[in-house]
């Protein structure tokens, strides 16, 4: 029968990719998992088993805990901002504007620049300059210079301050009453310096998100919108009830792509801020790299990598399951 022959063909066609991913991705993930349970802490491999000692070691380091927090905060802000700006720009660019090509190329151009260069340039732009001290006036630099901002209060990525729910705020009491008091600890807060990193990353990637949304918008048949308009719907309702739901697969793709960048972010952080004041902009990838290649603690580096993957799994897997269900329903 024709159909089952095609079924076989389809499986044969996808087999090489599955095999490649199985070996080069999952094979290596399992290798990393194995290494995270051995002693290997010099350049000479040492496969003596140590159980979960490596994990205990890294979780005992305050720096690593902060890294996890930083990753969560960074991912939340980065994805939200990129999606919002990308969608907004795609909508604007889609409207028969003059010079659409120019705007589109301009917005997507930052993606062409490597993360390392982006980091360096934004490090320059966001370097605050010297605050006033003694009799000497402040000498702002970069963006502070451009907008006349005071370097003492606008410290950008040199700011060690962490915004958290402190005893002064209204939410503090409420959270303690309902038993979620731990959220008010300074360890679960937003490092202000991280927002500079978010700014640079969003600058780099929102253009690509715009491209994705533009492709998605243009795949929506015009008749749908025309029909709705003829029926008297406003543009906003059309957007909310027709366009936005149809963009769900694009949103999913964009979130996955942005997520995989933000959870692994390394080049940008190294080039722009390093670990930051008091590790405010440190990331697990930086920690893993230094542990493995500077300190030669390959076992612990592997453990950090596995933790990174676990973090991803915790977020990505339920999300994928949920969107799969959404797709089936719609």
């Amino acid at each position: 029968m024709r159909i089952s022959r095609d079924r076989v063909t389809s499986l044969v066609v996808i087999a090489p990719s599955v095999l490649a991913v199985a070996i080069f991705v999952y094979g290596l993930i399992f290798w990393t998992g194995y290494i995270s349970t051995v002693k290997w802490d010099t350049l000479r491999p040492d496969y003596t088993g140590v159980g979960i000692a490596n994990y205990q070691s890294i979780f005992g380091q305050n720096r690593f805990l902060m890294d996890i927090r930083n990753t969560v905060v960074f991912t939340l802000f980065f994805i939200t901002a990129s999606l919002t700006i990308g969608l907004l720009l795609a909508n604007l660019v889609d409207r028969q504007i003059r010079g659409e090509g120019l705007f589109r190329n301009l917005f997507v151009f930052p993606m062409a620049i490597s993360f390392i260069v982006t980091g360096v340039v934004w490090k320059w732009i966001l370097s605050p300059g010297q605050a006033a001290f003694g009799t000497s006036p402040a000498t702002p630099q970069g963006i502070n210079q451009l907008f006349g901002l005071d370097p003492a209060t606008n410290r950008w990525f040199t700011d060690p301050h962490i915004d958290y729910i402190s005893p002064g705020s209204p939410a503090y009491g409420i959270l303690h009453d309902i038993g979620l008091g731990f959220i008010t600890s300074p360890n679960i807060g937003i490092p202000v310096a991280l927002l500079s990193l978010v700014l640079a990353a969003v600058w780099q990637m929102s253009g690509f998100v715009m491209v994705l949304y533009l492709a998605g918008l243009r795949a929506i048949p015009e008749e749908l919108k025309e029909a709705a308009r003829v029926d008297g719907c406003t543009e906003w309702r059309i957007f909310r009830h027709i366009v936005f739901p149809l963009l769900l697969p694009v949103t999913l793709s964009a979130m996955i792509i942005l997520g995989h960048i933000s959870l692994k972010i390394y080049d940008l952080a190294v080039a722009m801020t390093g670990s930051g004041p008091g590790f405010a902009t440190d990331t697990p990838a930086l920690f893993m790299w230094q542990t493995a290649f500077r300190d030669d603690h390959f076992g612990r580096g592997a453990a950090a990598a596995i933790v990174m993957l676990a973090l991803v799994a915790v977020v990505v897997v339920p999300y994928l399951v949920w969107t799969r269900r959404q797709e089936v329903e719609s």
Binding site: L43, Q130, P160, F279, D295, D296
Partner: protein
């Protein structure tokens, strides 16, 4: 006519082919001719020898290519090439190197900081041959100062001392740089103790000049500052003891030093974590008709190169406060990996690197000082040493030599990393007790302290 042009075309293409085949070194070598020597071509059956470094641009690249060229000209049976990827310890280039060594495919020699960066990373796991034969045959045991010999050697399990790398250049880490005009107009001289420094700093701050410019993006500049304070407080023997376990990190001396460190940080520019060391050094350079932003910076002697590049000449230098007579050294060195393919050729190359003649070719370009005390007299036609370098060479022969932690000589990279972690937290939230506890723990984690 047609035959003629075809012949010309043939000649041109053959010439192009020959030219393409013979230019085998990767980095642009406009510099090889800089020292007046001719650039030699690779012989047809020369054995290739691969040297990996991180010298890709500027004076260091010119210098290294010059010394490689000399070797290639003198030894036509070999051809050394400089396979350079930029990036020092902890960078992608180093990861690439380590991966190669792990896979059993190392280059024939590679650049590495002398001292524990080499010893702990490559020697202890058994990846390097010792080069005792070179040290004996070339008399380096008498030509290099004892302080350096201590750093480049290690005892094996039977207690025998072995040498593992030859240092090509020596940089000094404990140098104070200052703007001469600012000092003279404020009647200041280079402070010789940290107490003097703090007094001078207060005076400068009152005048509206940042006393000390620090660019610790990447934290290592602050690490160097900490080392200088410790060095001043403990002296050279005490400082050495920190890294061998002889000096206790929990001693009162260390506490005093850390307190001084905290006070010094109070006189540092507020935007230090956004600047690299060179951008901080640029604060000493005044804009036309104005005061410079900062009066002093404490940095290794590569700062001289930065000032020269920017055309700034009004700078003075001295040993960092409290460390007069002590030379805190770091060096780029080369050794022989066990799995290297061309050991004979590499050893010949290393002989040149350690010789006085070779070091006089390289160091004038690098801005550093030759490790070999017999060097210092390059031929008149070659590049000469600068004023700073001549001063430094004099100090090198007489000062006590201690290793630098930040630059791989005193401690293993993981120990350095632990210290840097502690300093990062301290710079953000000064807490001397916490810093000292972290430093004590770092020593224990490095299995040097009990």
């Amino acid at each position: 006519m047609k035959i003629m042009s075809r012949r010309i075309l043939a000649v041109i293409s053959v010439a192009a082919l020959v030219a393409a085949c013979s230019s085998s070194s990767a980095t642009p070598t406009a510099s090889s001719a800089a020292s007046g020597a001719t650039t030699c071509k690779e012989a047809a059956n020369a054995t290739p020898v691969e040297a990996v470094s991180w010298w890709t641009t500027g004076g260091e690249s010119s210098g290294f290519n010059a010394i490689i060229n000399k070797f290639n000209c003198d030894n036509p049976t070999y051809w050394v090439s400089n396979s350079a990827i930029a990036g020092g310890a902890g960078s992608v280039a180093q990861a690439a190197l380590q991966s190669r060594v792990l896979a059993g495919n190392p280059p024939d020699t590679f650049q590495v900081h002398m001292g524990h960066e080499l010893l702990d990373t490559y020697v202890t796991p058994g990846y390097m041959d010792n080069i005792d034969d070179l040290y004996t045959a070339n008399g380096w045991t008498t030509q290099f100062p004892q302080g350096v010999l201590n750093i480049v050697s290690a005892k094996d399990s039977t207690g025998t001392l072995h040498y593992y790398s030859v240092p090509l250049d020596i940089h000094r880490a404990n140098v104070l740089w200052f703007n001469k005009t600012v000092f003279s107009s404020n009647n200041l001289t280079a402070p010789t103790t940290w107490a003097d420094f703090l007094t001078d700093a207060a005076a400068l701050k009152a005048k509206g000049i940042t006393p000390l410019a620090v660019g610790d993006n990447g934290i290592w500049a602050s690490g160097m500052l900490l080392e200088d304070v410790l060095l001043a407080q403990l002296g050279s023997d005490g400082f050495n003891g920190l890294w061998t376990g002889a000096t206790s990190w929990s001693s009162a001396d260390v506490t005093t030093a850390l307190n001084t460190f905290q006070q010094v940080l109070g006189f540092v520019n507020t935007d230090h974590s956004s600047l690299t060391w060179d951008q901080a050094a640029d604060y000493l350079i005044p804009a036309a008709g104005a005061q410079p932003k900062a009066a002093m910076t404490i940095m290794g002697d590569w700062a001289a190169g930065e000032f020269d590049n920017k055309g700034f000449t009004d700078y003075g230098y001295a040993a960092a406060p409290g460390t007069t007579g002590i030379y805190q050294a770091l060096a780029d060195s080369f050794g022989v990996p066990k799995a290297a393919k061309q050991k004979a050729g590499v050893k010949l190359f290393l002989t040149l690197l350690g010789s006085a003649a070779g070091q006089d070719i390289f160091n004038p370009y690098k801005g550093s000082v030759p490790a070999n005390t017999q060097a210092g007299n390059p031929p008149a036609t070659a590049k000469q040493y600068s004023t700073y370098q001549k001063w430094a060479m004099g100090e090198w022969k007489t000062d006590k030599i201690v290793p630098s932690m930040e630059h791989g000589a005193a401690a293993a990279p993981s120990w350095k990393g632990a210290v840097e972690t502690a300093v990062t937290s301290f710079v953000a939230t000064p807490d001397v007790a916490a810093l000292q506890t972290a430093l004590v723990q770092a020593c224990k984690d490095a299995t040097v302290c009990k």
